[in-house]
């Protein structure tokens, strides 16, 4: 290769600086092998997370950033396409990432194609896709619960919004669409039972469907009065502890819903994340992904001291740790900036990951709340959802 290159020698050769020490380094640096593409480990370490970059400035070009939260100098391990209000799922057992995306034949116009793309976790290369019919996939600022697994991870559920609401049932193993379930008045997908899902509805109820082996609706059930959308609305994204979804309201009330059975079962006795002084006017949950769980079942809630009507997406400067069994707040964690999304890793020493409004990602010790490191604003333009595989 060298001789070929030498004949193309067109760059700027610099005079040798006075301080250069050819004696000290008698041999030149070796030639490097090309082409070369970085390899990922067979199994992602437990410190790695996926951070969704909505990329406001070009929403059609959203991305997932694979982030090593232990690394201050090389936190970004690679990017996965997440086009046009995409959503993502990870199946570590199959070594696959799934993105639900929307494309146009001419970038912004022309024929629309909705598809689930299947990516290899080790190479981040696409392995296949499943076309979603009729261009009706729900497009919104990234909510995890519009694309979810069911049936033990063998199927995926995709929310549709035209604004008519429905759910498309997809067989991931068979790589085909099975069915579409109408869902008038109900929103988002919370997998429930062995093969089914629940949704929250505009009348404040929770509605559950079970699916047969062809993906058709087999039975359903509804429980009224799960939330008061006017006075005590629940953030749509819960934290999962086992099969219990823990939702938090705009005012800091925590409501559990047991999703283990065929019909979602609201747990009795919602409780508050607690009060605190110094609010202007009061402390409330605030941000985008405001509640997270750890492996022990504790909940972490992102809190803003500027809580008021309309503050619920403004981000928070503290994380409050709550035990949903004891219904008590255990501690308050002060952040280094205004957090928008939080998650807790499943490491032996779990970390609290905070994606901030200014694009910075910070890492705290989840057990003590101590600030451990910052990754800087180095992985995403608009980090908005953190997925712990």
């Amino acid at each position: 290769m060298r001789s070929i290159i030498a004949s193309l020698l067109l760059g700027a050769a610099m005079p040798i600086p006075a301080f250069a020490d050819t004696q000290k380094f008698p041999a030149p640096l070796p030639e490097e092998t090309l082409p070369s593409v970085q390899q990922l480990p067979d199994k992602w370490p437990k410190s790695w997370v996926l951070i969704h970059d909505l990329n406001f400035a070009s929403i059609l070009d959203g991305k997932l950033a694979l982030v090593d939260t232990h690394s201050v100098d090389r936190p970004l391990k690679g990017l996965v396409r997440a086009a046009q209000f995409a959503n993502e799922l990870i199946a570590p057992d199959r070594g696959e990432i799934y993105t639900a995306e929307t494309f146009y034949s001419r970038l912004t116009r022309g024929a629309r194609t909705d598809a689930i793309t299947i990516w290899d976790m080790k190479t981040l290369q696409p392995k296949g896709e499943i076309i979603l019919p009729d261009g009706k996939r729900q497009l919104s600022v990234t909510y995890p619960n519009v694309f979810q697994f069911t049936n033990g991870g063998k199927w995926a559920l995709v929310a549709n919004f035209t604004p008519a609401q429905s759910v498309t049932v997809v067989d991931l193993e068979g790589r085909k669409v099975l069915s579409e379930i109408d869902l008038p008045g109900c929103t988002q997908i919370y997998p429930s039972g062995q093969r089914g899902f629940s949704s929250l509805c505009a009348d404040g109820s929770v509605f559950s469907v079970t699916l047969d082996d062809r993906g058709q609706a087999a039975s359903s059930g509804s429980v009224a009065g799960v939330q008061d959308i006017d006075r005590q609305p629940l953030f749509g994204t819960p934290a999962m502890v086992g099969r219990t979804a823990w939702f938090v309201s705009y005012h800091g009330m925590v409501q559990g819903i047991d999703l283990s059975g065929p019909v979602a079962r609201p747990l009795p006795a919602a409780f508050s994340v607690g009060k605190a002084d110094g609010g202007t006017p009061q402390w409330r949950p605030g941000g985008w992904q405001v509640i997270a769980s750890d492996a022990k079942g504790l909940l972490y809630v992102l809190m803003s001291a500027n809580g008021k009507e309309g503050s619920h997406k403004d981000g928070g400067t503290e994380v409050w740790v709550v035990d949903p069994v004891r219904k008590a707040r255990l501690s308050r964690i002060a952040l280094k900036g205004q957090g928008l999304a939080i998650a807790v890793t499943r490491e032996d020493a779990p970390q609290l990951i905070v994606a901030r409004a200014d694009g910075v990602v910070d890492v705290h010790d989840a057990a003590t709340g101590a600030f451990v490191r910052t990754l800087g604003a180095t992985v995403a333009a608009n980090p908005i959802v953190i997925t712990v595989p």
Binding site: D203, I229, E309
Partner: protein, 181 residues
Amino acid sequence: MAGFDTFTERMARGVARGTSRRSLLAWLGAGMTGTAMLPALPVARAATHPDAARPEMKSGTPQDPGNPASCDYWRYCAIDGFLCSCCGGTVNSCPPGTEMSPITWIGTCTNPADGRAYIISYNDCCGVSSCGQCLCNRNEGDRPQVRPQSNNDYNWCLGTESSIYNCSVAAIVGTALDQPQ
């Protein structure tokens, strides 16, 4: 989906009951705070170009005070996106090359000049990629996606030739009839 029709119909009826006019109006009375305090707007701050200081834009009438290129403008109390006023459109019209969404979300904002609560339609402009100017997110009256017409997180580029989002307008479509005093 034949066997599913019965309970989806039942479901739809239930939802219709739940969102009755009465419950909505009751909610309107529920202790909202004023617009005097500026929203924190972290997302907007993060994404806006640091050099994007702009000269003031005027609405042109004393009854409609403020700067339609500023996130603080009174009509933007529940907006989420790029302000069309900065993108070649105006506060209530889309930029050339885009198409206005016929379906939208609704907010109610108080005009500080006449004290009236106006119903604001936040229509998205569609078919051209992100405008990239004047990103603004305010959420007074915004509710979770479970109540779509009060949620600004949906991409409301629906019923348009393209679902690609460009910017959002804030048009007056009425006054709130039963406004609290």
